[in-house]
Symmetry: C2
Subunit: 583 residues, 2 copies
Amino acid sequence: MLNNINEARLKAMNLKELLALSEELRENITQSVLKNGGHLSSNLGTVELTVALHYVFDLPKDKIIFDVGHQCYSHKLLSGRSLSALRQLGGVSGFPKREESFFDCYNTGHAGTSVSAALGMAKARDLSGDDYNVIAVIGDGSFNNGLVYEAFNSLRLLNTRVLVILNDNGMSIAPTVGSMHEYLEILSHDMAHDEKKERHAKIFERFGFGYDGVYDGNDLEKMITKLTEVKERLKTESVILHILTKKGKGYEFCEENPEETHGISASGIQKADFNSVAPVTEYSQMLGKKLCSLAEKNSKIVAVTAAMTSGLGLSEFFEVFPDRAVDVGICEEHATILCASMAAAGYKPYYAVYSTFLQRSFDEIIIDVCGMNLPVTLCVDRAGISGADGETHQGVFDLSYLSLIPNLTVAVPKDVREFEKMLEFSEHFNAPLAIRYPRESVKIFGETSEIVAGKWEYLVRGSGKYAVIACGERALGYALNAGEILRKNGVEITVINARFVKPLDSEMLLNLTEKYIVTVEDNMLIGGFGALVDAFYSESGKIIKNVAYADKFITHGSVKKLMNEYGVSEESIIGFVEKYENR
Amino acid sequence: MLNNINEARLKAMNLKELLALSEELRENITQSVLKNGGHLSSNLGTVELTVALHYVFDLPKDKIIFDVGHQCYSHKLLSGRSLSALRQLGGVSGFPKREESFFDCYNTGHAGTSVSAALGMAKARDLSGDDYNVIAVIGDGSFNNGLVYEAFNSLRLLNTRVLVILNDNGMSIAPTVGSMHEYLEILSHDMAHDEKKERHAKIFERFGFGYDGVYDGNDLEKMITKLTEVKERLKTESVILHILTKKGKGYEFCEENPEETHGISASGIQKADFNSVAPVTEYSQMLGKKLCSLAEKNSKIVAVTAAMTSGLGLSEFFEVFPDRAVDVGICEEHATILCASMAAAGYKPYYAVYSTFLQRSFDEIIIDVCGMNLPVTLCVDRAGISGADGETHQGVFDLSYLSLIPNLTVAVPKDVREFEKMLEFSEHFNAPLAIRYPRESVKIFGETSEIVAGKWEYLVRGSGKYAVIACGERALGYALNAGEILRKNGVEITVINARFVKPLDSEMLLNLTEKYIVTVEDNMLIGGFGALVDAFYSESGKIIKNVAYADKFITHGSVKKLMNEYGVSEESIIGFVEKYENR
């Protein structure tokens, strides 16, 4: 049925056909995710809801905003898109994308934005005198984020009408935490045990929402009935529809392992990219292992996460040191301030977070952590291009937005062993420190010399004309490969491991005799590592090429393909050297 | 009494003496603020509360965190500091500063951080087995910020005890807005009209707080009694103490004009700094005037602010176009998404905000505004050094953190007339645009040529050896002054007005024959305008000096003194030219 689906055909279906369509969606999603990687259990849980939304509302005239957006696969299929090349370069994105379809009205990727966005759209509708409906679909995990509260708080002020569908499955990626979650559980419990109970929830009514819940979001018939009712109600007021769905619905393995099946990697895609010779410990595993061993002897070490504990490698830490481990849910700003204040009170906090989500903490890193020069260590995972999740998840800005902050030292390990040494170094480093690293670890570049703040190391000494200065495993991989190729062509280049992006190793830079310099990094060109080197040498007359990402958002695809596509490759390095060698 | 004040003497006072002390505080604060500028009405409102806190609690063992921190003057005086050089270079800061006193345990400046910080401190206390109290003092304006919700949501999770004093005066700088504010008003009303009513508020209890309120926070005796009770209660639970205070208490003019007397400028300090010859329209006045005239003809224009409407010059806009004007309260992230979503629905939003507070929206500018390439205009006021408010309020990072974002055009007007032209230009610019400008406008640099995205203009043509490229009124002022001085010494330098920091005028840069370049800006060196020019010229062999702020947090003081102190001055420009002229 999916082959020729459109809104008219879908609206003509009877319940039995809609149920069959749901099963087809479920099958298609599962096959696509197993092939390409992607979000599985959250999409399986929202099939019936999405079918009902398309059946009851008039898309794309009515607007649906999916919070975070990882649960939009059914919506993509129902709006005529194929998942066969899901998350691959050229295929559809795993998140809503306006440029893909009129059915996607607002791009998402980070948590908690949907209610704000719905309010803005509804306000614009009111101003224009249009009459479409605006719907935010938000999970209970996102509900922890402060943005949702800010949006709720302004509903009456904006004097508009939206539908918020609270898709409650008890999980973010990990189980949801916090008092709002407990409150939602109480509501669910009350409703389940007293069918006649008046369906209301004061806390939401205070903010001006009518509340209706709690219903089984995997019951298609029920969803159609409720959405039809709510659509009518929306003519005069804003409504929260609270539904319960089962993450992974329809596949026993997913239902029983919702955290493990939240995000699935296409088998081996990431690794194959980099021609790994032998399996190496991942950075996240190293973080977990090392932090446990440090914390065993140092009772001041605490770990803070924002709903990503497992992906960050910290599950064991949370089990072994429950008192010194805090997962605050999807509250990146609050997590950062908790770290700053614990540091102010004498503790040694490690805030582990994905690079893209750390953007939310930008102001708190400036004001709280660095403004007070507090010894918080930011463990910045998924740095550089993260790949298949696309624009909203690439960790390519961190070297730029972190290096501009006073008092912050920024370290980039060349490999997972150096990462281990940097973690040892961090324990006694009494100031703000960020260590950024990619997801996969595929190479070890020999021994690691002692870590000293702001000190780099030579990996290869060349003939004195060209130096390549690179930071991080991926960039160094390209630098060393380029060096090998150039050596075969008779040119010996120096290769330097810039273990600290800030401060730069000014002593090494001042003594560097090479006139032609290449910088390489897995980050944007603007404001990144190369730009720091350019500024350092601005009065020197050196000839410098910065190999880094061009000033564009980076789409989804495999890491290596994207790196090359956006400007980071061996060829960029070799091209520069050959240009000056041939003069 | 203030002369010899310490905790022991204060605790030995009787009520009459404490009341006299309060009056002395009030007098001292008023005189200091009238002399030096600073926050007046909020400090007058919290005198009794602060005296009671010092009387009942054991400072500095117990920890008080003042949200935003602008209400800490009584606390500074009671902890033995003088306000005689308040906010001046070398004098005390207008905000809490750990480096000033042990009585300041946590630096603040931006809204909503105090409850998170209190929780982190309390958690650290529990882990160490210490027994001090942790108190957050937060106004109802800050209570709108999502951070407060994130902190509340994790109270039970952290399993600790804090006191939150909700200092409710119905104002941020402007009157507080939103549903939480309405809820607080209901509570205040109920309590005032039914003294015997059980004092509780479900919404807070849901989050694990005991609630006690509402009381007159300007009644010293009452405050002492209540805090003594609450201190006992804190041994077993977290408490919200809800009090009402009167902003400006004790001075009729302040009580009647709390918004106007929230922040007071020391008369003429800012202006005198720059030797203004004649009064010129301020940038904020121009924004208000121009936006009104554009909006009159263009019904798609909307304006959004986050509790700063008057300071941004938008009061008239809000009066004339109430439907198209939104003040969401202190919710910078939500404000940004509202703009993005209204733009997605066909509107033309202007988000006006102080540079330092825009840091809170960093992620939303990336993901929502620029990720979808939406025509939102960011009007970034108080950019560059803002002066007397110090570290937490300097707008010196924006050129760095904005220029790294793809799709964003960053404009910097040379004077208020060029600002007007840029606003005209913005109306038809169909992509994300930031325009950044300082508070004061003191100079007009002749005519302004037509604004074209990414196109600069020559202000002075030199002899072809040196070019100074500067952005913004202050930097151009230094550039032109330096040019004058050098001309008298027989050196003719080119001066260029870099009206766009992004994109750079690559055509002009490529054609520039001068070998020696100076960049000048009112921003950090790292990642700023100069760094963009360095990167552009990295392969060119040009000799470049970047005049910008060194990599340090910038303290409080007068604008011009601070600019010179942190590296931006005529001398820096002249010094570079002389160095190469004498070779």
